[in-house]
């Protein structure tokens, strides 16, 4: 989760998110450079003592400020496309989970081996235990084995929703009647929070997603427990 008043990204919990962080650093640096240059030029234009300010044409600078932006755009596009194709690589998931969006909760189905399914509702603010995170905690978390490729099939049972976990670099729209696939590997164990990212009605802000990455034995214990409960 983000700490209060956080401006930047959360630490990456998956390799794809690490790549996105570095790409963002690269692109933001370019943006800062361009903005600084433009601001400097504006200040210089406004504060000059020169009176003859209007040159009507100049071929050389026109060529420069056409070619240079094109080069900059290529320098941004190449890493961007690299990550795009990276995200689309064939992977061999160890587990497939279906995340179904409802108004206003998520339900998860682990049907690879047994028939495990459960709903995940937000814990209301008045029911939080001390120290829990307002609007982020859910009663049942989506537990996954850490450091294993996981496939998530996202869909919805009523209106559009979106399944998003920023620390994993994932956002996938939940469209009724459609299966959207996304995949991730968690680099480290931990609890990762997200919120519904497509407007879906009155409680759109109150249906969070909680992914808990644990060692495989813990995952197996958890799934046995959950099967017994249901």
């Amino acid at each position: 989760m983000a700490h209060p008043s956080q401006l930047g990204f959360q630490d990456a919990a998956s390799p794809v998110m690490e790549e996105l962080l570095h790409f963002h650093d690269h692109t933001l640096m370019i943006v800062f450079l361009i903005s600084t240059l433009v601001l400097y030029i504006i200040v210089a234009m406004v504060s000059t003592k020169l009176t003859n300010k209007y040159v009507l044409d100049s071929q050389e600078i026109e060529i420069v400020w056409t070619v240079l932006p094109a080069v900059i755009l290529i320098l941004i596009a190449l890493p961007s496309l690299r990550i795009l194709y990276l995200m689309d690589e064939i992977n061999d998931p160890h587990l497939t989970i279906k995340a179904m969006g409802h108004q206003w909760y998520w339900s998860y189905e682990y049907t690879d081996y047994e028939d495990l399914g459960f709903d995940s509702y937000m814990i209301p603010t008045q029911d939080l235990a001390p120290g829990q995170f307002r609007l982020l905690e859910a009663d049942h978390r989506m537990v996954v084995p850490m450091e294993s490729p996981i496939r998530v099939l996202v869909s919805a049972e009523d209106v559009l929703h979106s399944w998003a976990v920023p620390a994993l670099g994932i956002k996938m729209d939940a469209v009724p009647g459609r299966l959207n696939q996304t995949a991730f590997i968690t680099s480290r164990p931990g609890v990762y929070y997200g919120q519904c990212s497509e407007i879906c009605g009155a409680n759109h802000s109150f249906m969070p997603i909680v992914v808990e990455a644990v060692p495989l034995e813990h995952f197996e214990n958890w799934s046995s427990l959950m099967l017994e409960e249901s």
Partner: protein
């Protein structure tokens, strides 16, 4: 009047720099100020176009005309006052007068600060009379318990929140 002749009149009037409704206003007894003829060269004082197309004073008195005649000879014969008078015939303001700072910025800054102050007043009033009480999760003891829980959960341990906590010594890193 047919539409074509109305258009011709409008076109002729526009070329003279006169809006068509001027005649309408005059017909209703309103005053009209003199219209500039935009097709002739104009005089204006601008730092970045320093030599206007026409001199400032076009109509010259007899004295000014004789001064203009004297200007045609050697300029060494002109006195200081005559040179200044010739300058003032050609130009309205000197560069120093054009560049003289106005005090406008004080009005602008003052107006901005006044409106920011008024906005602040409105915001304070809203906080007292409109907004609901803050959630209990923003109280100090809850925030402390939340921070402890975030550290225990290793939230953002790489460069973020938990990376500033020293787990050996159980305190924030110095």
């Amino acid at each position: 009047m047919s539409p074509f002749s109305a258009l011709r009149v409008a076109g002729l009037l526009a070329r003279r720099g006169v809006a068509v409704n001027i005649s309408v206003r005059a017909a209703h007894g309103h005053e009209i100020s003199k219209q500039e003829d935009m097709s002739l060269p104009m005089y204006w004082d601008r730092k970045d176009t320093p030599l206007p197309d026409i001199p400032f004073q076009k109509a010259l008195t007899a004295d000014q005309q004789s001064l203009k005649q004297k200007e045609l000879g050697s300029w060494k014969n002109l006195s200081e006052e005559e040179k200044i008078a010739l300058y003032r015939l050609a130009f309205n303001q000197t560069f120093a007068e054009m560049k003289k700072p106005t005090q406008e910025w004080k009005t602008v800054v003052g107006g901005v600060l006044i409106f920011i102050g008024l906005t602040g007043l409105v915001v304070w009033w809203q906080r007292v009379f409109v907004l609901p009480p803050q959630p209990h999760t923003l109280k100090e003891d809850w925030l402390a318990a939340q921070a402890k829980r975030m550290i225990d959960m290793r939230i953002n341990p790489v460069e973020g929140f938990s990376s500033s906590w020293d787990y050996e010594k159980n305190q924030w890193k110095k």
